[in-house]
């Protein structure tokens, strides 16, 4: 207060001045909250990484069980991501470009797995593949989803499809359809215009979507647990391994699975941000 310059009107003016433009209480308080929660998250991650003995972690990482879990996680998540791309990209294109009857309903249902608890999704998938004639028919031609790695793939696909879909939908929406119109007048069919013009322009959104879908697939637990179960060395992905080893007190094995999951999350989030994913989701 003492540094308020005196105005021409004299000191009487001062009684209305109760603050200082340079001190913004709201700014300081909100930034403080953001900093505290950031510190909390970092300390949690550091705790997981530093808690076990490094030598034991390296040994665990090389153990057959963790190596199997890494292998199974990579294979299932890559396949489920490809399925999400195969279904999500065309569906997102339809939602971005065309108007059709029931579009908003379709759009809402396609986003539903985001809000649905993964355990519920898993139960539904288990019922679908385990108790219906359709599931039996698939099983009879060798496609067994219940308590098998195929179940993990279908669980990851179902739960993570909305990520691919949402990111691609906003990516396509951001690309003016006029690029395709011009391409069509220049001689392209509709499909050629998409392939030659829209898809190349959608590259960064596609990368962001694929990376986040893959990262979510690696971490998928609830739905996979329900349909594929938690069988050591059979349906043991990294999160399942973490769960199994934690349950029976194998802290080193559990934490090494956790460390791998943390590294994957941090790296894929970085790539996601790099390609502008957060503005599209």
């Amino acid at each position: 207060m003492e540094r308020n310059p005196k105005t021409a009107e004299g000191p009487a003016e001062d009684q209305f001045v109760t603050g200082d433009l340079r001190r913004n209480g709201v700014k300081m308080a909100t930034i403080a909250i953001a900093l505290v929660i950031t510190a909390f998250i970092i300390s949690l991650l550091l705790l997981v990484v530093t808690r076990p003995d490094p030598q034991a972690v390296i040994e665990s990482l090389l153990s057959p069980e963790i190596r199997f879990a890494i292998y199974l996680s990579l294979v299932t998540s890559i396949i489920s991501t490809m399925l999400c791309i195969a279904v999500g990209v065309p569906a997102a294109y339809a939602l971005a470009r065309y108007n059709f009857f029931g579009k908003s309903f379709v759009s809402m249902i396609l986003d539903l797995p985001l809000a649905l608890p993964p355990l519920v999704a898993g139960v539904a998938l288990l019922l679908f593949f385990g108790t219906t004639a359709f599931g039996d028919a698939l099983a009879s031609i060798g496609l067994v989803f219940v308590f098998s790695p195929l179940g993990i793939i279908v669980a990851q696909f179902f739960v993570n499809l909305p990520f691919m879909l949402r990111i691609m939908r906003s990516t396509f929406t951001d690309i003016s359809p006029r690029y395709e119109y011009v391409a069509c007048t220049l001689g392209c069919t509709n499909l050629q215009a998409i392939r030659r013009v829209t898809l190349p322009m959608a590259g960064s959104g596609f990368l962001a979507g694929a990376v986040i879908t893959w990262a979510k697939g690696i971490g998928e637990f609830g739905a996979a647990l329900m349909i594929a179960g938690a069988t050591r060395m059979k349906t043991e992905t990294l999160p399942i391994s973490l769960f199994l080893n934690m349950s029976c007190g194998e802290l080193e094995l559990a934490l090494s699975a956790a460390i791998i999951l943390i590294v994957i999350s941090v790296v894929s989030l970085y790539i996601f941000e790099l390609y502008g994913g957060s503005t599209k989701f």
Binding site: R178, V182, C184, T185, G187, V197, G203
Partner: protein, 353 residues
């Protein structure tokens, strides 16, 4: 050449309502109209982007109503260029030639030739994002013209450019049309483009073509008050017409209860009529003009707006007139707001409909 018959298309936000238009080979046809009038949909329907709900379109005598864009030989240029950002300028311009199965050497030759016409030959290896607006639009026009289209559609091609570039590119469009005699349909908001480019002009409003004709006809003789106001005729009055010795005399009720009579050479049946007078056709002076001009009124100046090129004077003669005079002309009169002034205009430029 291009014949549009009773075409309707409802896109929700925008629509075309029973549009019919015939455009001759080699015409430079300009379409003007307010935002949301349906101008872009009309172009996109001609290009074949969407099928019309009703009506038919034929190009060179061939019905193309439901023919896909690639088989129409119609190309399009948008205001914001729509160059493919992941392709070089050369790949952009040559894009359509690929689909015409033109061999690479010949493609390159054609691209170089067209790029040369627009002076962008040195930019062929660059990507569109690194070019200025004028360069991008030259590339977009090159991409469209290299296919030698039957009809070239231009959707506000100059609107995103700065004044000087716009002026230069307008000249280039003019010489392009003179050289290739391509049939061109050009949408704009800019009246300069109408007068310097158009062989004919159409005014669109609410999905309909409300008037079409030569620029002179449309700007001098609007057939509705919408067109009159849109093309900038500042003086539009409604009244009752009587005929007297070859002269149409329109009596207009004034807010003060009296009547003003304006004479015109436009033949019009007796009854309700609208009169339009362009502001630059009104002469202004301190004394009543002693010429043979039919219309002369005295009034009070209510406002003077100097827009840099012209001085626009608002005069209350019982009716609110707006006159436009050159700055030199106005300096010679030297009047200020509140003074009494005399307005004079001939019967010839007064249009009645």
């Amino acid at each position: 050449m291009l014949s549009i018959k009773n075409v309707s298309k409802d896109m929700g936000e925008f629509l075309l309502d029973d549009v019919s238009l015939d455009i001759a080979e080699g015409e430079y046809f300009v379409i003007i109209g307010p935002t949301g009038a349906g101008k872009t949909i009309l172009l996109e329907t001609i290009a074949g982007i969407y099928p019309p709900d009703a009506g038919s379109i034929s190009i060179g005598g061939r019905d193309v109503t439901f023919v896909p864009p690639r088989e129409r030989n119609v190309t399009m240029v948008y205001q914001d260029y729509m160059l493919f950002p992941h392709l070089t300028v050369e790949q952009n311009i040559g894009f359509g030639l690929e689909y015409q199965k033109v061999p690479p050497e010949e493609r390159r030759k054609k691209v170089l030739e067209v790029a040369g016409i627009f002076g962008i030959g040195h930019l062929l290896h660059r990507y569109p994002g690194t070019l200025s607006g004028g360069e991008q639009q030259r590339a977009a026009i090159s991409r469209a013209i290299v296919l030698e289209p039957a009809v070239l559609l231009l959707d506000e091609p100059l609107s995103a450019l700065d004044g000087q570039t716009r002026e230069r590119l307008r000249q280039e469009l003019r010489s392009l049309h003179a050289q290739f005699r391509t049939t061109i349909i050009h949408i704009t908001h800019n009246f300069d483009e109408v007068f310097s480019l158009a062989t004919r002009v159409a005014v669109m409003n609410k999905g309909q073509i409300v008037q079409a004709g030569t620029p002179e006809e449309v700007f001098r003789h609007p057939t509705s008050s919408f067109v009159a106001e849109f093309v900038g005729v500042r003086n539009v009055f409604s009244g009752t017409c009587t005929t007297e010795g070859g002269l149409s005399r329109v009596s207009i009720a004034r807010p003060d209860g009296k009547k003003t009579i304006i004479s015109s050479l436009t033949p019009h049946p007796e009854g309700p009529a609208t009169v339009t007078i362009r502001s630059e056709d009104i002469m202004i002076g301190r004394e009543p003009c002693t010429t043979s001009a039919r219309n002369s009124f005295a009034g009070t100046i209510t406002d003077i707006v100097d827009n840099g090129m012209m001085v626009v004077v608002h005069v209350d003669c019982g009716l609110p007139f707006i006159a436009g005079v050159s700055r030199q002309g106005w300096a010679a009169v030297g009047a200020t707001v509140g003074e009494t002034i005399h307005l004079t205009f001939m019967a010839d430029p007064v249009h009645v409909f």
